[in-house]
C-alpha cells in the first residue's frame, strides 16, 4: 500500500506542480479569476442589486442560492446518513464497545463555567446569524456555534441532560423545518410566477421594494440554514459520542 501511495502522490504532485508555473502571480488583481466580469460583477453590483454590504452573504444566499440550498441538504444528508448508519433504536443489553470512558461526577467548576458560558455563546450565535448581512458570518457559522452550545451542555453534564432540552425527535424536526424554510422561499417565488429562488418577486407579499425583498429573503434563508445546521451538528455529535445508543455521552 505504501509504495502505491508513494507512486500516486509523486505523480499527482508532479502534475499539480507542473501547472503552477502557468498560474498568474499570487495576489495579482488582473488575473483572469479576479478581473473577469463574474467576480467584478459580484464586487461592484451586489450592493446595488441586493442592498447587502457583505458580498459573500449576498452571493451565497442569492446569486448562488441554489448551491447553498444543496449545501444545507448536504448537512441534512450527513445527519440522516449518520443516524441510519450508527443509530440503534433497539437496546440489546450490554454492549462490549460502549463501556464507560471514565467515571462521571458532577464537577462544580465545569458546571458553573458552562452555565455562565452557554447563554453568551447562544447570544453570540444569534448575533452572527442575524448580522450576517453586515459582518462576517451568517446562517452556517451561527448555526455551528449554536449547535456547539448544545454540545457543550452534553459535554459538561451528560447526554441525557442535553436530551431534556433537545430530544432526538425535536432535533430532526428542526433540521427538516430549516430546509423547508429555505426551499419555501424558493417555492413562494415559484408560485408568484417567477423562477425557483427568485426572491425579488416576493415584494408582492412583503412590504418592500424588489431589492429590499431580496435583502429580507436572504435573512429568512439564513435562518433556515441556521436551524438545519444547529440541529444536525448536535445530532451528529450525540450519535458519535454515544456510539449510536443515545444513552450516555462522553
Amino acid at each position: 500500500m505504501k509504495s502505491l501511495a508513494l507512486i500516486s502522490v509523486v505523480i499527482t504532485g508532479w502534475l499539480l506542480l507542473s501547472a503552477v508555473g502557468d498560474f498568474p502571480d499570487w495576489g495579482d488583481p488582473n488575473s483572469p479569476a479576479n478581473s473577469y466580469r463574474l467576480s467584478q460583477h459580484f464586487v461592484t453590483e451586489t450592493f446595488h442589486e441586493t442592498a447587502v454590504p457583505n458580498m459573500v452573504t449576498a452571493v451565497l444566499a442569492d446569486y448562488r442560492g441554489y448551491d447553498t440550498m444543496f449545501e444545507t441538504v448536504v448537512i441534512f444528508t450527513a445527519g440522516i446518513a449518520i443516524i441510519s448508519i450508527l443509530r440503534r433504536f433497539t437496546s440489546d443489553g450490554a454492549d462490549a464497545g460502549t463501556e464507560k470512558v471514565y467515571e462521571k461526577r458532577p464537577d462544580l467548576i465545569v458546571d458553573t463555567t458552562c452555565r455562565l458560558m452557554i447563554p453568551i455563546i447562544q447570544l453570540f450565535a444569534l448575533y452572527v446569524i442575524a448580522h450576517g448581512h453586515h459582518s462576517p458570518g451568517g446562517g452556517f457559522q451561527g448555526g455551528v456555534i449554536f449547535g456547539a452550545s448544545f454540545i457543550l451542555i452534553a459535554l459538561s453534564r451528560d447526554l441525557q441532560a442535553a436530551h431534556k432540552w433537545v430530544p432526538e425527535q425535536r432535533v430532526l424536526n428542526l433540521a427538516g423545518i430549516g430546509i423547508l424554510i429555505y426551499a419555501g422561499f424558493g417555492l413562494a417565488s415559484m408560485f408568484l410566477g417567477q423562477n425557483f429562488l427568485d426572491y425579488a418577486i416576493l415584494h408582492k407579499i412583503m412590504p418592500a421594494s424588489p431589492i429590499e425583498a431580496r435583502y429580507h429573503s436572504m435573512l429568512g434563508v439564513e435562518i433556515g440554514v441556521a436551524f438545519t445546521v444547529t440541529a444536525i451538528m448536535y445530532s451528529i455529535y450525540s450519535n458519535l459520542a454515544s456510539k449510536g445508543t443515545m444513552k450516555e455521552g462522553l
Binding site: G27, P29, V43, F47, A51, V74, A81
Partner: protein
C-alpha cells in the same frame, strides 16, 4: 535570484500542493481508519487553501463594504449614521423598474472592483468546508460501526478477520 522570485510569487501554490500530497499519502497508505479520515480532512483543506489563494488581490480588503462607504451616497441624508439603515432614496431621478421601484439600490455609491477580494471563491469554499465536515462525520460514523462489528479500527486487521472467516 530569478528562481527565488518565481517561487516567492507563487509559494502559496507550491505549499498547497505539499499539504495536499501529505493528505493524499495518508489517505492511501495509513491503515488506521481515523488517521485516514484526518488525512482526508487535510487533503480537503489544502484544496480550500488553493481556492482562497486564487481570490487574493494585492491591496484589497475583505469583501464587505464599510459603514462609511455604504453611507457615502447618502450625504443628503442627515440620519446617515443612525445605525444600519440603508433605505432607498426615493424621489430622485433614478431609473425605475416595471413596478415603479428604483432598479438600483443606492445608485450613487461607487465601488471599485479592485478594492475588495474576490467574494466568489469565498462562497464556493464555504460550501466546500460544509461538504468536508459532512464527509468527515459520515466517515467517522462508519468507523464506529466497523469498530462495533469487528472490535478494531485498523483496516488491515479487519481484512485479516474477513479472510480467516469472521
Amino acid at each position: 535570484m530569478e528562481f527565488f522570485e518565481a517561487i516567492s510569487a507563487k509559494f502559496n501554490y507550491w505549499i498547497y500542493v505539499i499539504i495536499m500530497m501529505i493528505g493524499l499519502y495518508a489517505m492511501i497508505a495509513k491503515t488506521n481508519m481515523v488517521k485516514k479520515l484526518i488525512g482526508m480532512s487535510v487533503f480537503q483543506t489544502a484544496i480550500i487553501l488553493f481556492y482562497v489563494s486564487i481570490g487574493v488581490k494585492d491591496g484589497a480588503t475583505i469583501p464587505i463594504l464599510y459603514h462609511d462607504q455604504v453611507h457615502a451616497g447618502h450625504h443628503h441624508d442627515d440620519h446617515a449614521h443612525n445605525g444600519e439603515h440603508y433605505d432607498t432614496p426615493h424621489g430622485t431621478d433614478h431609473e425605475a423598474d416595471e413596478y415603479g421601484y428604483p432598479s438600483r439600490h443606492a445608485p450613487d455609491v461607487v465601488i471599485d472592483g479592485d478594492d475588495f477580494a474576490n467574494p466568489l471563491v469565498h462562497v464556493l469554499m464555504l460550501t466546500a468546508i460544509v461538504v468536508g465536515v459532512s464527509t468527515l462525520g459520515v466517515g467517522l460514523a462508519i468507523t464506529q460501526k466497523l469498530h462495533r462489528e469487528f472490535g478494531t479500527i485498523e483496516e488491515n486487521e479487519i481484512h485479516d478477520m474477513i479472510k480467516s472467516g469472521k
